[in-house]
């Protein structure tokens, strides 16, 4: 059990939400991984966990021995954790449960930064968290959030990426109202 904030949702659900710098792999999480090495059967991927994860070369949509994708070392990929058993390296996949590529795969260009796991969970919450909502009203950008505390951003101009990434990193300890105010101030300043 990890320490964290006690959360409550109506009518009677309580849970403790923790936030760490390190990620503990869990099956069915979607994460952002960095390719560390390419082996014959697996890509070795760093997902910020205690051990590197394996991405089988056939775990792609319509994957056969003939069409193995090529990743350079240091490539950023959006993947799903399939197996996360203790004492084993986690296994990843680039296809969803129905065998489709969905959104998984290589992320080109853009910028990746690291956050805590709590912040990445907040960014993926529904309804949408106020930071992203307010920023999205004024700026256009593309975002991919991995539950392992990695966030990828892309936009037409580098300045937008810098503004959005810093706004997200600053929102770590702010309440919803504070987040809104912070984003409003920020957007006024850059205009």
């Amino acid at each position: 059990m990890k320490a964290g904030k006690l959360q409550f949702s109506k009518p009677n659900k309580y849970w403790v939400e923790s936030s760490q710098k390190r990620y503990v792999p869990c099956a069915e999480d979607t994460v952002l991984g960095i390719v560390v090495d390419c082996k014959a059967d697996n890509f070795i991927v760093d997902i910020k966990g205690p051990a590197t994860a394996f991405l089988p070369v056939l775990a792609f949509e319509g994957g056969t021995r003939r069409n193995i994708p090529k990743f350079v070392v240091g490539a950023l990929i959006y993947v799903r954790v399939v197996k996360a058993n203790p004492g084993m390296n986690p296994e990843l996949s680039c296809i969803d449960a129905s065998g489709k590529a969905a959104e998984f795969g290589l992320l080109k260009d853009g910028f990746m930064f690291e956050t805590s796991t709590g912040l990445s969970r907040m960014l993926r919450s529904s309804p949408m968290c106020p930071v992203l909502e307010e920023l999205g009203k004024q700026l256009s950008f593309e975002i991919a959030v991995g539950l392992n505390g990695r966030v990828w951003l892309n936009a037409d101009s580098p300045s937008t990426v810098v503004v959005v990434s810093n706004a997200i990193m600053n929102s770590e300890s702010l309440s919803e109202v504070q987040q809104k105010i912070m984003v409003e101030k920020l957007l006024q300043r850059i205009k």
């Binding site: 960095i34 560390v36 090495d37 070795i44 760093d46 966990g49 205690p50 051990a51 590197t52 350079v72 240091g74 490539a75 950023l76 390296n89 992320l107 080109k108 260009d109 853009g110 910028f111 990746m112 930064f113 990828w152 580098p158 300045s159 990426v161 810098v162 503004v163 990434s165 810093n166």
Partner: protein, 319 residues
């Protein structure tokens, strides 16, 4: 092997490309412009001679201690100053515990050179008994968090710690006045070190494409940049040391521009350090009024007076 693979910090292809393209249009990933320094905060510990410096995400702790030792034979009437660095594995997974790595040695050397070659600390005033006993000042620098530009942060931590450090006063006594008596702080006010000027290290990062230069690089930029240069200057604009460890070649005109920028930055940082030290000293002075010296309290208790009552440490040094 596997656990080490999982524990190292990596830079993705995306980040590398983004940092370079953003810099082409004069933008840095933390929103600064290329010639802007990060936010600097200096704090002091409860004891004299300890400092904690935060430069952006970089966090360094400095600690100064002193000891009476025999001087070096070629410098019989000068005290010594030594810098020790400690890179905690908690600051960055690439730091390994145990033997200091290459970067740890380089960091120590840069700071040591800046302080020593410019004679910033007056070592002659540290002499107690020429050829026999001098004060050896030791500066310990602990890297607590690596957010890039460790040299500058560690240098500021060392200066702030040296400025607030006070050594116990000592006098010569005994029949042939060869005996050194150390006075505890309650008896005689400890003496601060004599620091003539503050050599401030300012680091620049150079990127390969079209001679882009940034001041105070973060650890993301450090992973991408092609070359690095550290210039050590004081507030008067005197260059105390320059370190340019390999990497990309730099034009002479760029170096001159760096030095101009560094001298301006050194002025700002000197002011910040002096303000922080001044605030610390006034706080110390105001808290001293309420201080109850430990030795007086002990003497008040009485009976065990012989053991602890007189806290004078005496060192007999006879030829």
């Amino acid at each position: 092997m596997d656990s080490r693979l999982a524990n190292t910090w990596r830079l993705t292809v995306n980040e590398r490309k983004f940092i370079e393209t953003a810099l082409l249009s004069g933008i840095r990933i933390d929103g600064r412009n290329p010639y802007e320094y990060r936010k600097l905060s200096i704090k002091f510990g409860r004891e004299d001679g300890s400092s904690e410096v935060q430069l952006g995400q970089t966090h360094v702790m400095g600690f100064v201690t002193c000891q009476l030792l025999q001087p070096y034979r070629d410098r019989p009437n000068e005290g010594t100053l030594a810098i020790f660095t400690e890179f905690s594995p908690m600051a960055d997974p690439s730091f390994e515990p145990g033997r200091p790595g290459e970067s740890a040695v380089e960091l120590g050397r840069i700071i040591d050179r800046g302080l020593r070659e410019s004679r910033a600390v007056d070592t002659e005033s540290l002499c107690v008994l020429a050829g026999k006993l001098v004060w050896a000042i030791r500066v310990d620098l602990h890297i607590l968090d690596n957010g890039g530009n460790l040299v500058d942060a560690a240098n500021i931590a060392a200066l702030a710690a040296l400025l607030t450090f006070r050594r116990p006063e000592c006098s010569l006594g005994g029949e042939d006045s060869q005996e050194v008596i150390l006075h505890p702080p309650e008896e005689r006010e400890p003496l601060p070190l004599i620091v003539h000027h503050l050599p401030i290290a300012v680091t620049f990062g150079f990127f390969s494409s079209e001679s882009i230069m940034v001041i105070d690089p973060t650890h993301h930029e450090e992973a991408v940049m092609a070359g690095r240069m550290t210039a050590t200057l004081n507030a008067n604009g005197d260059v105390c040391a320059i370190q340019k460890p390999g990497g990309e070649g730099v034009l002479q005109s760029v170096i001159m521009q760096c030095l101009r920028l560094a001298s301006r930055t050194a002025g700002d940082i000197t002011k910040k350090i002096n303000d922080a030290v001044e605030a610390y000293k006034t706080e110390r002075a105001s808290s001293k009024i309420k201080r109850h010296p430990a030795s007086i309290a002990l003497e008040g208790i009485g009976s065990g007076g012989n053991v602890k009552g007189k806290q004078n440490l005496s060192l007999n040094l006879r030829v």
